[in-house]
Symmetry: C2
Subunit: 263 residues, 2 copies
Amino acid sequence: MLDASQVEGFRTHGYLMLPSVFTAAEAGVLRAAADAVYALDRQEVVREKDGRTARTAFAAHTYNEAFRWLGRHPRLIRPVEELLGGPVYMHQYKVNAKAAFDGDVWQWHQDYGTWARDDEMPEPRAMNIAVFIDAVTEFNGPLWLIPGSHVEGVYEAGHDVSTTSYPLWTLDQETVARLAERGGIYSAKGPAGSVLLFHGNLVHGSPPNMSPWGRTIVYLSLCHVDNHIRRFKRPDWIAHRDFAPIECLGDDCLAELAEVRAA
Amino acid sequence: MLDASQVEGFRTHGYLMLPSVFTAAEAGVLRAAADAVYALDRQEVVREKDGRTARTAFAAHTYNEAFRWLGRHPRLIRPVEELLGGPVYMHQYKVNAKAAFDGDVWQWHQDYGTWARDDEMPEPRAMNIAVFIDAVTEFNGPLWLIPGSHVEGVYEAGHDVSTTSYPLWTLDQETVARLAERGGIYSAKGPAGSVLLFHGNLVHGSPPNMSPWGRTIVYLSLCHVDNHIRRFKRPDWIAHRDFAPIECLGDDCLAELAEVRAA
């Protein structure tokens, strides 16, 4: 569970970085799972503009064992239940590659803006918790967050359907410049196994990866069960429709999987 | 002049970072000059793919006073004369913008590869010395160098005419990955007025700028006068043909210009 200063930090800045929450062995299980998922020919695996490089794999917890277990891991679910004040369901689950050389940008945006516009999620009682499957450095496409940008609600956005292979509601440059002048930019870096929590309204983006080192981050978008979406416009593998509270597995579930695989 | 450990560091790693060589007032003169140059409608000012945003201004020392003086500044010319062992001429001069939001990538490449292929420069007795006109951070498109990548000569390269608005001889991914595994990547960051020297064969590139903060770096490509180019395929505002040794101005030339402008 989070301590009082962590909760206070989250409320103020809109994010919380927790280094090395998972061990190298646990991250290794997820690393292998990510490669397996990227190799699948499924509609959930979205490719970059080149039509070849994996960009993101949606709903990987529904077709991969390690990611299924990660989606019920107490080290991820408990802190979010604490911050959102009750049981949560999985609104979205994605495994984001940022492939070496070819991983493309994620433009500046707010996740809850999309959840409200596309899915009619009533309130921003939802947030992301992310797990670094690889070490994330300044070179391989870290997540960039604008501290304090979560407090003014949802900003206007335009639907950018051309910059990358994945359409996104993105903020205008004036808004981003104003917020970054005030709050700066925080680059979320850390060893494999690190965890980042951030508010559904926090403005964030991620630069392209021109380094020779790929990196994968798994994002669980968790929503309070009372705050479930009302509109089912997007496919159910993007915006899930199972609003049942997530029941956590044991704390050692991934460690056990690592041991089984090693044996 | 450089001391022995600096010279040794340059020989080993292929670059040398010198923070705050110019004062804030001197950098301010150059900052104003860059804006003036970007606003010019000249063939030397290359735009990004959007046809609007300045990407680089070639030969700015031939049509802007502050950049003319910078091109003869002893703090830039003397160290390069020392490293190249004699008088130098200006092979290329460019003012590289990396505009906020819109500044595009410079792919992985070696400068001497281009100078040899396009201009028939006999040997890599030429190098860059760069001046940061703005603070360069991890967010606004720093230069990335691969330490030690200058020692094996010129690598094979392909002519990339599609990624950006400016065609470039770029290295293949296997070569970059191999060199970065060995040497890592150094991101050249520092306050406005900092200076970076790097070997003509050092592999380098620069990521796009998705931050709200622009940054300009001026590159002087200096060549030993005996090593001048033999082929005149590229326009003379890209590959200069005046092989006369550069004669330095006084150390206070830019400071005086700053005072005159302030008065």
